[in-house]
């Protein structure tokens, strides 16, 4: 699947962008040219050789803060996506096999979670448990998990009624073996699409919460927090919000493009892509000089 994604221009672009973001998250604090927390003598300074993106209201280097803040944003969004994945996929698959009571319970639970506004819920949890991005993201991940529940359940239902799965069960295969051998392979592509989308959604959620000053203790920098503080000084630095806003926008866009690419190369569409490649390769073969003794 990776090779098929990379064969698409949009897939290559998305992977490149996300690789850069991942690099920033891993080594951003090391790349920061200055101490992101050190207040300077030149608040709200314009971009210069010393401060490529200028300084904030306390004279701190904006580029260093952006680089340092990338880790919180990336880890937060991954936390949302992975929590949702674990909490949603396992009951989604098992709901097909563990009987009607489990199915009814998980479906109603998923309906309930969908009805809860996750941003407000995250704010409430932070108020209850203390200001921290981890607890906020864990709760958000649980509230986003119905997406994975439904995707994995729908894919499992489609596979579960296949003759070869029924044949395996009739032959005495254990449910766990059937799930590992037949179901997971069919369920993974739509889950991968949902995961890429959820990472993008996670970025928006992390940025929204940190924009509101929730989840991170000052003066720790975050992309959302930088955007919020810059908006207060538009009169002095009208272009200041562009950098954090652009970073958030490009990252979310790359996640969505990657999700599109994954969708395009998986399932029927993926097989069609594979077939068209084979056909093209076949046509190239046909263009070769005809061998002696006639054509095949």
């Amino acid at each position: 699947m990776v090779r098929r994604v990379l064969s698409l221009p949009s897939g290559r672009i998305a992977v490149c962008v996300l690789a850069v973001i991942a690099l920033l998250a891993a080594s951003g604090p090391l790349l920061a040219p200055q101490d992101p927390l050190a207040a300077g003598d030149t608040p709200l300074a314009a971009a210069s050789g010393a401060h490529w993106l200028g300084t904030d209201y306390l004279g701190r280097d904006v580029l260093s803060r952006l680089l340092d803040g990338s880790r919180v944003s990336v880890l937060g969004s991954l936390e949302v996506a992975l929590t949702a994945l674990v909490v949603g996929v396992v009951p989604g698959i098992l709901s097909v096999y563990l009987g009607r009571t489990f199915e009814w319970l998980t479906l109603r639970l998923a309906d309930t979670l969908v009805a809860l506004p996750f941003l407000l819920f995250a704010v409430a949890v932070v108020a209850l448990l203390g200001n921290g991005i981890t607890q906020a993201m864990l709760v958000t991940g649980v509230l986003v998990s119905p997406l994975f529940y439904r995707v994995s359940r729908a894919a499992t239902l489609a596979v579960a009624r296949s003759p070869y799965v029924e044949a395996a069960l009739v032959s005495g295969a254990a449910i766990g073996w059937v799930v590992r051998r037949h179901v997971l392979a069919k369920v993974l592509p739509p889950i991968a699409v949902a995961l890429a989308q959820t990472v993008g959604t996670g970025f928006v959620i992390v940025s929204s919460l940190t924009f509101l000053g929730i989840g991170v203790q000052p003066p720790a920098p975050t992309w959302g927090g930088l955007l919020a503080s810059d908006l207060g000084y538009l009169g002095q630095r009208p272009w200041a919000p562009v950098a954090p806003a652009l970073l958030i926008m490009v990252t979310v866009w790359a996640c969505n493009v990657l999700a599109d690419a994954l969708r395009d190369v998986s399932g029927e569409a993926g097989r069609a892509l594979l077939n068209s490649r084979r056909a093209r390769a076949h046509r190239l073969d046909e263009a070769d000089p005809a061998p002696a003794g006639g054509t095949r």
Binding site: L37, A39, Y57, L58, N131, Q217, P218, L231, G235
Partner: protein, 529 residues
């Protein structure tokens, strides 16, 4: 012409154009484009035309965007903090302050002390009524004081400790004091004793939603937390000097949008953040600083480690660079202060100025003497919300080797006023009575003294001397400064800077009286009305 929308991968038009309909589509596109251009051009122009709608209107209307929109309309619950200015639209008090900060008549036309100075009689103006028709008399004053002292959710009881009882004698309110206290006329002004109708106050929760006072305006509509609409009170004692017919008080939106609101006429008066001052000036608005008593401080609890060590306290004092607060937080509109008052105020003590100058080297030395090497001392600074002040404190203490972690506690007020915190920040808007400001900060049970019951030696005696000194005594200023000097021996407070009361208004609104810390609408006109 706009290209047809083409799907990037399939190469198909999502809405393939039909040849016969192309001219009509072009025409529609042109109309839409023209419409958009006209809208873009005309909207700012039309908005600008409406910029002084209040001026153009026949009825002078004050459109006030306030950062301190009252969360409570019952003055007893609202307390003596910054919201008193908005509540003063509805409620009047026994006294008010003039431009020198002295107490002058309001509902009371005069007052006098007995010879010992432990009883004061306020003589109320005759024929005054609250907006519900109840008379303004001694009984109303008695009810107001007793409610402030006894109501369960009163935020004022700590301000009225000198008052023993109130006796109502027709239009006279006789206040019996438990000690000699000549501060009472200043104390019972707009901040501490805004008087509500006793009939309305019988249902305090209803009063909190629907205020009934005898002030210059009466409320016609309140949208809780958002907006209040008021109209002039024709029965106000000084109604002839109130030239504003209507008031629309709105909770200020985000600081960065207030100036736009002022420019487009949505508001014609607003308190603004210093970061917006230049934008307001460029927009042609009248920007000014209303004098006040604002003072911010770093609160230390000397009952808790490490501040139980005087050397650590002194190290913090020498680590604070006050000018940085002024430069970065007030854009030069504020000023440094090392006392609970701004410089130049009668209670400001020049002899105590700059007692602990910024000296990071000395601070490091004191920390070493206290047994803390660089990086060893770790402190939690607890604040109620994200606050650049906290970040500056953190940064300044980091320079002397103290690691500060900022903790945001949404329920900060509970541990702060219970004196459970070790290290925090507080900003006061001051009090009309300078002595009240001093006792609030340095008194053993002062609400702003994080180290209660600690008090600096000699402060109680100095405060008592101020109470015993009449306000018009030639010695008053010196006695007051001596009390400030005694209070500043406290190790519990490090004062940093004075935040300006920065206001932007439309030029159609005339200048306000420069009463310190107050917003007085007497004589103010809108659009020349």
């Amino acid at each position: 012409m706009l290209p047809p929308f083409t799907h990037p991968r399939t190469g198909q038009d999502r809405h393939p154009a039909r040849p016969g309909h192309r001219p009509a589509r072009r025409s529609r596109l042109r109309t839409a484009a023209l419409g958009t251009v006209l809208l873009t051009v005309l909207t700012p122009a039309l908005s600008a035309c409406g910029g002084d709608s209040a001026a153009a209107s026949d009825t002078p209307t004050l459109k006030w965007a306030s950062s301190y929109f009252p969360s409570h309309w019952d003055p007893v619950v609202g307390g003596s903090g910054a919201q008193f200015r908005e509540l003063a639209l509805v409620y009047a008090s026994l006294t008010r302050t003039d431009e020198k900060g002295d107490a002058v008549p309001d509902l009371a036309e005069s007052w006098d002390y007995n010879a010992r100075g432990d009883r004061i009689t306020f003589h109320l103006r005759p024929h005054l009524k609250f907006s519900d028709g109840e008379p303004v008399n001694g009984a109303a004053v008695k009810a107001a004081v007793e409610r402030a002292k006894k109501q369960k959710n009163s935020a004022l009881f700590g301000d009225l400790t000198s008052i023993e009882s109130v006796e109502a004698k027709g239009l006279d309110a006789v206040i019996h004091l438990n000690q000699v206290d000549y501060q009472i006329p200043q104390l019972l002004g707009e901040r501490v004793l805004q008087i509500a109708s006793p009939k309305a106050a019988r249902n305090a929760s209803a009063l909190d939603r629907n205020p009934v006072g005898a002030g210059p305006f009466t409320v016609t509509q309140i949208v809780p937390g958002t907006k209040a609409v008021l109209r002039k009170n024709p029965d106000y004692w000084d109604a002839e000097n109130i030239h504003i017919d209507n008031v629309e008080l709105t909770s200020a939106p985000d600081a960065s949008t207030v100036v736009s609101g002022l420019r487009t006429g949505v508001y014609n008066f607003a308190d603004i953040d210093p970061s917006q001052a230049e934008a307001a000036k460029k927009a042609g608005l009248d920007v000014f600083v209303q004098p006040g008593f604002n003072a911010s401080n770093i609160s230390l609890n000397v009952n808790k480690a490490p501040f139980d060590n005087g050397k650590v306290v002194d190290a913090v004092r020498h680590a604070v660079d006050r000018q940085e607060f002024v430069d970065k937080l007030t854009f030069g509109y504020g000023e440094t202060t090392d006392q609970p008052f701004p410089k130049g105020y009668v209670a400001y003590d020049p002899a105590s100025a700059d007692a602990y100058p910024y000296d990071p080297a000395r601070s490091k030395k004191l920390l070493a003497e206290a047994g803390y090497q660089a990086g060893e001392l770790k402190l939690n600074l607890v604040v109620p919300a994200e606050d650049p002040q906290a970040e500056i404190v953190q940064s300044q203490l980091a320079k002397v080797g103290v690691k500060v972690t900022i903790k945001i506690d949404k329920n900060w007020a509970t541990p702060f006023f219970a004196k459970d915190l070790a290290f925090s920040l507080y900003s006061t808007t001051g009090r009309d009575s300078a002595l009240q400001t001093l006792t609030a900060h340095f008194g053993p049970h002062g609400p702003l003294n994080l180290s209660s019951p600690y008090e600096p030696s000699g402060f109680e005696a100095a405060a008592a001397k101020v109470r015993r000194t009449p306000l018009d005594s030639p010695d008053y200023a010196e006695v007051l400064r001596a009390a400030t000097r005694a209070g500043l021996k406290s190790e519990a407070l490090v004062f940093t800077y004075s935040q300006p009361n920065l206001i932007a208004k439309s030029r159609s609104v005339s200048d306000l009286p420069r009463n310190p810390a107050h917003i007085d609408w007497t004589g103010v006109t809108i659009g020349g009305h």
